[in-house]
């Protein structure tokens, strides 16, 4: 599935949503490729009984990685991700059903800003991560 936009968006536009369904397998692979030995991401008993979380935690950088993935899909061929800022505001765990949303909030001479949130599917106010991406418009991009 691609999120690629049919045309350059305007301020206020909502961008295509991306559903996310992190599993223990995905979190394990992300910990593996990032060489992350922290047990809260793969040891369910440790994450729940020792640390008191609802399951194994989705890695903060993976949430950031999803924001960047969506930004690259939205603007494939027409814009480049110049900067990204993100922070976790609540925990997400394996088994959660999540939705990534983006909205164009500002436009400048070189591109635009997109505010992104990742929230629980069942409650769009249950945001787990917020981010802002600045997209530079490619000079050779078609209108």
């Amino acid at each position: 599935m691609t999120l690629q936009l049919p045309a350059w968006p305007a301020v206020g536009d909502d961008l295509p949503q991306k559903p996310l369904a992190p599993t223990t397998v995905q979190l394990f692979l992300y910990s593996s490729v990032t060489w992350n030995p922290h047990r809260i991401h793969y040891d369910t008993e440790f994450a729940t009984e020792v640390e008191g979380y609802g399951g194994v935690l989705v890695q903060g950088p993976l949430l950031g990685g999803w924001i960047l993935q969506a930004a690259q899909e939205w603007f494939r061929g027409v814009g480049r991700v110049a900067t990204m800022r993100h922070r976790s505001v609540a925990t997400a765990v394996a088994g959660d059903s999540l939705v990534l949303r983006g909205r164009v909030t500002d436009a400048s001479s070189d591109g635009l800003d997109v505010e992104v949130s990742i929230a629980k599917t069942e409650d769009e106010d249950a945001v787990v991560c917020r981010g802002t991406v600045h997209i530079e418009r490619k000079a050779d991009a078609d209108e």
């Binding site: 692979l29 990032t34 030995p37 809260i40 950088p61 993976l62 999803w66 900067t83 990204m84």
Partner: protein, 168 residues
């Protein structure tokens, strides 16, 4: 103003750590490592997975997706002997001395200056930029702000990043 240090998370000696910097082992970027990252995140664009697709799109080799540098960021400080890891699996990773029992990721802010490709060798330097103590709803917190600089073999900065670690 001197705070009551009994309420602080950081040890007094932590403040000597501001400005400390580590340059880690250089990280050789391979097409296979980029593919592992893409599979773990769920990225399917062939320019990140297939050399022919990348070359057809004008890249010299498979191009890493934005965000791949976070695999480098997490790997290089944790390449330490098993016995040096904490019981929860975490590593010391340039964390100033404190009585904190938990570490959490705070805000991260990154700028992408140029693409990373398979074949590049990336060297990360991490510096403690500042320390801040606050009292939150759940008690005292400390914020450790790191500046990270990712450079290629020619010394060009490809990504710069500011990363906040929260201690409590």
């Amino acid at each position: 103003m001197k705070q009551d240090s009994s309420r602080n998370v950081l040890d007094d000696s932590a403040h000597e750590w501001v400005g400390r910097s580590v340059t880690y082992d250089s990280y050789p970027v391979t097409a296979m490592d980029i593919k592992k990252y893409c599979i773990a995140v769920g990225i399917e664009d062939p320019v990140h997975l297939d050399r022919d697709a990348a070359v057809a799109a004008g890249h010299p080799h498979v191009v890493a997706p934005a965000g791949y540098h976070m695999a480098i960021r997490h790997t290089v400080p944790n390449l330490i002997p098993l016995m040096d890891l904490f019981p929860d699996g975490g590593g010391p990773d340039l964390t100033p001395p404190s009585r904190a029992s938990r570490r959490m990721a705070g805000e991260s802010s990154m700028s992408f200056h140029s693409d990373i490709h398979a074949g590049d060798v990336i060297t990360v330097t991490k510096t403690i930029a500042s320390l801040e103590e606050k009292v939150g709803r759940a008690g005292p917190l400390a914020f450790v702000t790191y500046d990270l600089d990712y450079r290629d073999a020619d010394g060009r900065s490809v990504v710069t990043e500011t990363y906040v670690r929260i201690l409590r």
